[in-house]
Every structure is written in structure tokens, then in C-alpha cells.
């Protein structure tokens, strides 16, 4: 990308600046180390890590994966070894490779978000941003997702922002009604951007055994099947100009990515596509660049929101 005629891919989301708009989605890229076997993941706009919790979580019983029409259900259940594992085992490798990840975290209540943040104060400069996975159940509110309660979204965001003073991203769920209210709350809490969308709740059954296809019964639907839904959420938020949006949900190729950008997303997240084509995210960076070049557009920011007018 050193030649002078290459379009400028830099995007700015509040106080977050990325060299290009392509980000890996949480939970679909681990901490980027595995994909480093295939290409230089540092060349992506950012790598978002798997969501980490305060303590280790076993996750849901298998089966955890089921394929559906142009999509997949997963019920990983946020299995992870806890934030310590990230700090001790993942971050050192990322530092070594000069990768500043977006760290995804989640808690069962506000206190847990606080405690995780407390552990991060020392390593803030190695992290590009913290993403709050607000689709996870809030045990204080009877297990409904955090983003169903705008007031909670605001509180949690503000708490983390205050403690860490690095960019905060709120990741929102499409399963809980008014996303615009959640986005406004995130903004009011000090978030720099929102990630939209997390998976849609879905399920499947085996008609011969009459058993659910997933050990946990309910799972999250991702992949091309959900793209139109994700785009609609992104578009509706961007029309209202609430806060910069990282658009995700079913992006499989650079055309999909451009579609999210013109719908108003300031950056895009690549999730399930990484499983199918390990080079997907890298190819999407190249494809966006080629698209701009062919259209003689010198800066990616000029296409962001182009379909809104």
C-alpha cells in the first residue's frame, strides 16, 4: 500500500483511529494469533479479542455449532479462561507482534465490569479500545441482556470509561427491542462507538431424535443469512447520527463490507467469514481499496454513509 495512488483507508471513530476500517469480530478470531499463521493480522484495522470475563468460564455443553441456511448457530456460552489468561498469555504475544487489540470483556453485573477494568489499568496503552459485550445476560436484571436496559448501558459504559480512560465500544444485541436507545445510552456513558450487531437468537431441532441441535438449546445466528437485518440496524442508527457505528453481521466479502460503509458504518467487523476463508478479513481490506481506486475515490471516508443522503 505504499504507492501514492493507493486510496487512504484511515477511519476515525471518535477518539479511535484505525489504519483501515476492517476489524475482526469478537469470538471469531480468538486473539488473532492463530490467523497470524496465515497473514499479518496487524494489517487489519484492528483485532477484537474473544470476550473475557473476570473468572474462567466453562461455557455451554456441546454440540455448540449447527449450520443453517447461509448461516450458523453457535452456543459457545462465552467459554474463556478469564481476564488473567488474556493478560498473561495473549497480551505478551500481541505486544511482541506490535498488535494493539480491541479487548472484549463482559461481566454478569456492573461490579464485574469494574473488577475487570481494575485489572486493565496497567496495560491500557497496549490496548486500542475496550469493547463491552452487552449482549450477555445481566444477572441483576433477571438474566436479560444488558442492552435491554439503556440506563444500565450508560452506567457500565461510564464506569469503564472513567476507570480506564481509553476508547470504549459498546457491543449491542439485536434481540432486545430499541437499539437506538441503547446506542444513545452508550454515547451518553462516554462510548466512542457501538458494534452492531451481535448474533440473533435462534435454534434448531433434530426431527428424528426430537432433541435440540445445540446442547444449550438456544444459540446465536451469524453469517450471510443475517446480513439484511444487520444492515437495517446499522442504517437506522446512522440515519439518526447517534454515534459512530462498527457494522457487522454476515459480511463475507468486500462488496458486503462496502455495503455497510455506504449504509453509514465507520468500520466493519468480520466474523463467521473468518471460519470459511481464513484470509477473508485481509481480502476485504484489499477489496475496499480496489473499489475506491476503480471509482477514483481517494479516501474511504468519502463513501461512509453515502447511501444515507
Amino acid at each position: 500500500m505504499s504507492d501514492a495512488s493507493a486510496p487512504n483507508l484511515e477511519v476515525v471513530l471518535g477518539d479511535i483511529t484505525l489504519s483501515n476500517p476492517v476489524i475482526s469480530c469478537s469470538g471469531t478470531f480468538a486473539s488473532g494469533i492463530e490467523y497470524g499463521q496465515f497473514y499479518d493480522v496487524g494489517a487489519l484495522g484492528a483485532v477484537t479479542t474473544k470476550s473475557f470475563s473476570l473468572q474462567k468460564r466453562q461455557g455451554n455443553p456441546p454440540p455448540r455449532i449447527f449450520e443453517t441456511a447461509c448461516g450458523m448457530l453457535n452456543s459457545i456460552g462465552l467459554q474463556n479462561e478469564g481476564i488473567d489468561d488474556f493478560l498473561n498469555n495473549h497480551l505478551p504475544v500481541l505486544k511482541e507482534r506490535s498488535i494493539r487489540p480491541i479487548l472484549s470483556i463482559f461481566g454478569e453485573n456492573r461490579t464485574e465490569f469494574e473488577k475487570i477494568s481494575a485489572q486493565l489499568t496497567d496495560c491500557c496503552r497496549y490496548i486500542a479500545a475496550v469493547e463491552l459485550n452487552l449482549s450477555c445476560p445481566n444477572v441483576e436484571k433477571g438474566g436479560m441482556a444488558f442492552c435491554a436496559f439503556p440506563e444500565t448501558v450508560k452506567e457500565v459504559t461510564a464506569t469503564v470509561k472513567k476507570m480506564l480512560n481509553i476508547p470504549v465500544i459498546a457491543k449491542l444485541s439485536p434481540n432486545t427491542g430499541r437499539m437506538d436507545l441503547a446506542a444513545e445510552a452508550a454515547r451518553d456513558g462516554g462510548a466512542s462507538a457501538v458494534s452492531v450487531i451481535n448474533t440473533l437468537v435462534g435454534t434448531a431441532f433434530d426431527i428424528h431424535t426430537c432433541r435440540p441441535r445445540l446442547g444449550n438449546v438456544m444459540g446465536g445466528l451469524s453469517g450471510p443469512a443475517i446480513k439484511p437485518v444487520a444492515l437495517a440496524h446499522v442504517y437506522k442508527l446512522c440515519v439518526k447520527k447517534i454515534i459512530p457505528v462498527i457494522g457487522m453481521g454476515g459480511i463475507f466479502d468486500w462488496e458486503d463490507a462496502v455495503e455497510f460503509l455506504i449504509a453509514g458504518a465507520s468500520a466493519v467487523g468480520i466474523g463467521t467469514a473468518n471460519f470459511v476463508d481464513y484470509f477473508a478479513a485481509q481480502k476485504i481490506v484489499d477489496g475496499i481499496s480496489r473499489y475506491l481506486k476503480e471509482k477514483n475515490i481517494d479516501h474511504v471516508k468519502k463513501i461512509i454513509g453515502k447511501a444515507l443522503h
Partner: protein, 261 residues
């Protein structure tokens, strides 16, 4: 591990819904060890459905001609698509994936049920190559795998085949091959097959001193240890367990530590 578009050399039906697919890949032939698998995209060009790759064990590699082979059963849409491909078509393959199985014992007992013969066949070849004593027990529902026996014969090892339905082989299920367990004292056992077979083996071998390694299967999304979709419940310590990834922590696990539901 690499992602590559490889050319199909042969894709022959050798039984009811049973196919052998050979493809040209110097890389896979050089790198693949027993226990490993490859991840194949099973949709047509420009298609996104079926979406996910499908995992298949390596059945054989021919290093002279750089031809790798898988043996597969047509189950659903992915394998149905695969079965329609012909010599000269290209497929998108990633591998080798998973951990190699590297037997250290001198005497090896291999147990295969159904399509579980695929990785066991490759392992058998490897064991012979390293001059081990090998015995193979294979169990099949019916005579569908008759042509596979030819490949087994060619290995020149001791083997017995059990078959539930007809006169082709010993009548019965493969676990009957263990009626005289003391015969296999000191053998390291490797097994692959349906869950019911593995459960039966777990029970049968519970008291035995043999080391038993099972090659497991689970639905996969990424195949490279990223998504945590392919886990199995594995005992660690007395009362605790953890979910371990079949793709990157397996597919081989100590059968005695596998917690079947």
C-alpha cells in the same frame, strides 16, 4: 497448515454413499501425520451454502505421486456436493489440521467402526512403516465396506473384520474382537468410530491396563482452534472437567477421560 486449491485426481464411489476422493497436493502429502484431518469447502464456486467447511480424516497419502486420499460417507448437503465433483475439478482444502498421533509403544491395536476406518487406515500404514506390531479390528454394519477390506489386506497386517449383517466377515460388533483382552496386553489401543462404539469400548476397557486413545469427532466451524465450537467434555482431575477443542487439542484424547453425556 495451509489453505490451497487442489485438483481432484479421482472421486470414486466404492460403496453405497461411500466415496474415495484423491487429490494432488505435495504439501499435504509431506506434512500430514496420522490423526490429522483436512477441512474442505463443499459449496460450488461463488456459492455460500453450505457455508462451513467439512472436516475429513486423511485416509492415505502417496508421497511418490503426491496424492492424498480421503474416504467419506455422503451424509448431508456438504458431502452430497462433494460426491458430485469429478477428476479435474478443484477443491478448497485446508490442512493438515489437528495434532499428529505419534505412537510410542511397540505394539498397537487399532479399532475402527464404520467410517472411523479412515484415520485408522492412515495410522496403520504409519505404524507398519515404523516396524510396530499392529493388529486391526474393524467393525461394519454391512458389506458396504468390502472394497475397503482390499486396502486393509494390502497393509499386510493381522486383522479381523466384524459385520453385523452378513457372512462376509465375523458376525457381530467390533468389541467382540476384544473377548480375549489378555491377548492385547501391553498394546496401545487407538480407536475411532461412532459414539456408541466408543462408549462400549470405554466400558469394556475400564479395568484394563492398556493405554487407549480415541479419535473424536464434533461439529466444527473454524477447524483451527479459534471458535471453541468443537468441544468435548474431558475429565481433568477427579471431579472436574473442561471442554476441550477437538480440532486443536485433539482429535486424539485418552478415551478413559472422555465424558460422554
Amino acid at each position: 497448515m495451509k489453505l490451497a486449491n487442489v485438483e481432484i485426481i479421482n472421486n470414486n464411489r466404492i460403496g453405497d454413499r461411500l466415496y474415495k476422493l484423491e487429490f494432488f497436493s505435495p504439501y499435504i502429502c509431506k506434512m500430514a501425520s496420522p490423526g490429522q484431518f483436512i477441512n474442505i469447502r463443499c459449496c460450488g464456486p461463488g456459492q455460500i451454502d453450505p457455508l462451513l467447511r467439512r472436516p475429513f480424516s486423511i485416509y492415505d497419502t502417496d508421497k511418490k505421486f503426491n496424492v492424498a486420499t480421503i474416504l467419506y460417507l455422503v451424509k448431508g448437503r456438504g458431502t452430497a456436493n462433494l460426491s458430485r465433483l469429478e477428476r479435474g475439478n478443484m477443491i478448497d482444502v485446508c490442512g493438515p489440521l489437528g495434532n499428529p498421533v505419534q505412537p510410542t509403544a511397540d505394539k498397537i491395536l487399532l479399532i475402527a467402526g464404520g467410517i472411523g476406518i479412515a484415520p485408522i487406515h492412515f495410522l496403520a500404514k504409519h505404524c507398519i512403516h515404523s516396524h510396530k506390531t499392529v493388529y486391526l479390528l474393524a467393525g461394519f454394519k454391512d458389506q458396504n465396506y468390502m472394497l475397503v477390506e482390499k486396502d486393509i489386506m494390502r497393509l499386510s497386517i493381522d486383522y479381523s473384520i466384524y459385520c453385523e449383517q452378513n457372512m462376509w466377515a465375523n458376525r457381530g460388533v467390533v468389541t467382540q474382537g476384544l473377548h480375549n483382552l489378555s491377548r492385547f496386553q501391553g498394546y496401545h489401543i487407538y480407536c475411532c468410530g461412532p459414539v456408541d462404539m466408543l462408549k462400549a469400548l470405554q466400558k469394556k476397557l475400564a479395568g484394563a491396563k492398556n493405554q487407549v486413545t480415541a479419535l473424536l469427532e464434533e461439529r466444527m466451524a473454524c477447524g483451527i482452534g479459534v471458535c471453541q465450537g468443537c468441544v468435548q467434555k474431558i475429565k481433568n482431575g477427579r471431579d472436574s472437567y473442561s471442554y476441550q477443542k477437538v480440532c486443536s487439542q485433539g482429535p486424539a484424547f485418552n478415551l478413559m477421560e472422555v465424558l460422554f453425556e
